[in-house]
Amino acid sequence: MMFKKSILSIGFAICMLVGCADSYHWTASHPSYSKAPYGGIAVTGLENAFVITRSSWFAKRLEIDKDSIQIKGTLHCRNTFEAEMRKSYGNLLVLPDSVNANSPEESLKLDERIFIKGHIPEQGVSLKDSAGNVPPVILILHEFIIGTDLKRENFFDYALIHNESGGIRKPDNVSAIFSYTLWDNLKQRPLFSAVDEIQQPITTYKLNNLTNLIQIAVQKIHKNLYAGVSK
């Protein structure tokens, strides 16, 4: 029996060494990320980041017309996000998407198989607000996908992105998958990047549940920005 156990543990050790355990790194920190933003932060990307999948499902429950769910629903998300960010950061500066929209879309590596895609400002060019000020750190929200029973690996692991979900079934959770980068605007480098996932169990789904989902997301971002500081 002992022999069998030791064989098993050796097997596990080999497995860990060659990396057949399927674990991802969902965050990446720059070695120079030494202090999380406190009090003040700028944020951009809010205008185009939010996407609601399964529009008819959400339209029915949120009592919004199906034609306008994308516009009204995402606007609601955006406003909630902004309001919740303001609670965490008293001095919040919201930059329009246009400041960063001209940067080419690039991928940012988090893990051997996980890449964030988004607009990343050019090296040597600082983003400016309308008054011409240069905010020191900017939270760039790349994507915020809201749907039912979504898994982030199906969106961000390049080996799985072509997987299609099997037939429609009754969903268990409303999910939010969001990717973001904390950008050092003075030195033009990504301080911290992450892909997060939230699962919210469904009982009855109303607009305040969606509000709550966004609030949880912002709190999670806030927490991760602290947790990501390089030791």
């Binding site: 720059h30 120079s32 080419p104 050019e122 090296q123 040597g124 033009q188 480098r189």
Partner: protein
Amino acid sequence: MKKLLVILMLLIAWASASEVYFDSRFTLWKDATILIWSLDGNSPVNAPEFCLSLRRNNSGIGDPKCRELGEWERDSIAMRYGSWLSNNLEKGLSSYYLRARHPGMAAKIQALEDNIVLFLAPQGKNIQVAVFDETAQEPKAAGVVKANTDKIALSDDIASTFFDKRTKRRLTKEERLKQQTEPDDLYKEVPNLKAWAGFGIGYSQAHFPLTPDNWTSSHTRSRVRNYRITKDSVSLWNFIDDADPFFSLYAGLTWHGFIGVEFMYRYSNRDMKTDNADTVYQELDHWNFGQHDIGLNVLFSLTYPINPWLSITPLAFLGFQYTFYNEDIDHKSDVKTPSRAYQHRVKFEDVYKGALLGVGGQFVFKKHYGVDLRIGLSSRGRDLYEAPSPDAGAAATTIGRFTLDCFVSLGFEYHWTL
């Protein structure tokens, strides 16, 4: 005390004046072309002077050419990356974090061919230094040197810190093209079937190195009296010498570089361990046994190409063998009739069956010529699953019910792929 501290601090400051953050050993060409890139077009070193510094500090550099990299100094993409680099070049950051992301900048670096770009940017009391070549979108080496208004001293400092290494001859255009298109020496497909044949010499003994002697000494110290009597007849080593060299012939095959079989034959000559105190042996001229082992091994192996002319294949093997003993005995020519004991001497079984287990490695040179090293265990015994006979109790004891030894062997092989 204070003075000492000041001196110490000065010393530390002096020692840390030039500091290399990282250096990935870029190729420094003989007769190199160094392009000096400064952001404001106001280079802290003088290009011809820098060439002289290179020649002073590196005797192998030949006749280098140096000039300022005006085309990058005037280019907005390069300008932005340069100022970004100057802003981001910190101690402790690996080159990965200094990569040029802009495709235009990456293209510029790739188009350098075998020229070397030396980036210089003043930063307070230091000058930041970064070295680029065509092979990477990030600096190959970076660091700081102490700023100095004496341009010659500064050139010397940079040359001795970053360009003090062996040089390689610069390739011609044709050679570069050839190098780009020639196949990778280490690239090798695993052949479906690989075969080898070889011969070897080895040595086997009953006592395992690094184990207590008393595990085997009762067998190895035992002597045969009166042509047939020993303390214990379980092991053949009670009768014959265990520590002898052997000669082997073998041939094998590997499928897909992983699993293989090998047929082998071994021969060794074993002397009978007669007790010299026993006078009955006075009539004896010689008594020994030729030991023939025929076996079949299953091998598990993996091949690692080390360089174009050497590959190493560690392997493990497991197999079985049959052993036959061929008696060679004669009494002295002056003895007319040997004794009764001589006529009724010990008889070994016709055949012994055993197992082989071990590990080894094949070192294959130039794809064909192999040297093989192995260590392992081998056993010989009787078939355990004999039908029980009714008079088992009365039957004579089987000689050599279980014999174990260890071996080490060195083989010379020829390899080929099928």
